[in-house]
């Protein structure tokens, strides 16, 4: 039987079409699949960015993502989810993260997808190191991400 939830941390790119098809095939009661793809931008905080390396905490990363997905299942009637996050070297335009949520109706799929992204941004142990014309630097956490995650507790 197909797994309802799929979590992966990998250096390889992901296939949005294949991942969408996997969820769609899980259950004929699925009417809605929301998704999010995060891409590496060629700029950050006003500086051109040439390359990026994503570091993570193997073991904790997977369990943190599983906890976030479990919490989403507790809040919404989800019929399947996919979370794939890349690590290692990346370049502008490269996809970084994919989140897919499947549900009977669109409201739950949209809410769960945004919730998983907001929690991933503040709870999953990934760190971005970017290369600009003036050298390398670690990306600083954003208050806006903390605020986005906090609104799910209201």
């Amino acid at each position: 039987m197909a797994e309802r939830d799929r979590i992966a941390v990998q250096t390889a790119a992901f296939d949005v079409g294949a991942e969408t098809a996997r969820l769609a095939a899980l259950d004929r009661g699925i009417g809605a699949i929301a998704s999010f793809v995060g891409l590496m931008r060629d700029q950050n905080n006003g500086d051109a960015v040439q390359a990026m390396t994503l570091e993570h905490y193997p073991g904790m990363t997977e369990s943190a993502l599983a906890d976030i997905v479990a919490e989403a299942h507790g809040r919404w009637a989800l019929m399947g989810t996919t979370v794939i996050h890349r690590v290692g070297p990346l370049h502008p335009g490269d996809p970084i993260v994919l989140v897919l949520t499947a549900s009977a109706h669109r409201g739950e799929a949209f809410a769960a997808c945004e919730f998983i992204m907001d929690y991933l941004k503040t709870r999953a142990p990934f760190w971005k190191h970017e290369t600009t014309a003036s050298g390398g630097r670690w990306v600083e956490a954003r208050d806006s991400d903390d605020n986005a995650a906090a609104r799910w507790n209201r």
């Binding site: 570091e55 904790m60 369990s63 999953a124 990934f126 971005k128 990306v139």
Partner: protein, 88 residues
Amino acid sequence: MLNPAALNLLYFARLREAFGRDRETVVMPEPATVDGLLATLQGRGGVWADELSAGRNFRVAVNQTVSGRDQPLRAGDEVAIFPPVTGG
């Protein structure tokens, strides 16, 4: 097999670079806590005192779960210290 108070420390991202290492084993007198461990590391001075001072923004995970500063530590625990996360 393990020393009764030996902790397996991991450092990530900016802190890994600042401390010049990604892991080490530290022996603490029991009963140990996260606070006690941080005080021991700060006692090394220099970048350790700077990066782990109360005003700095960092996280501690014990056995891969983010933990408070009063969390007890036992021999063999994996204790990771890292900056706020920036994935996604």
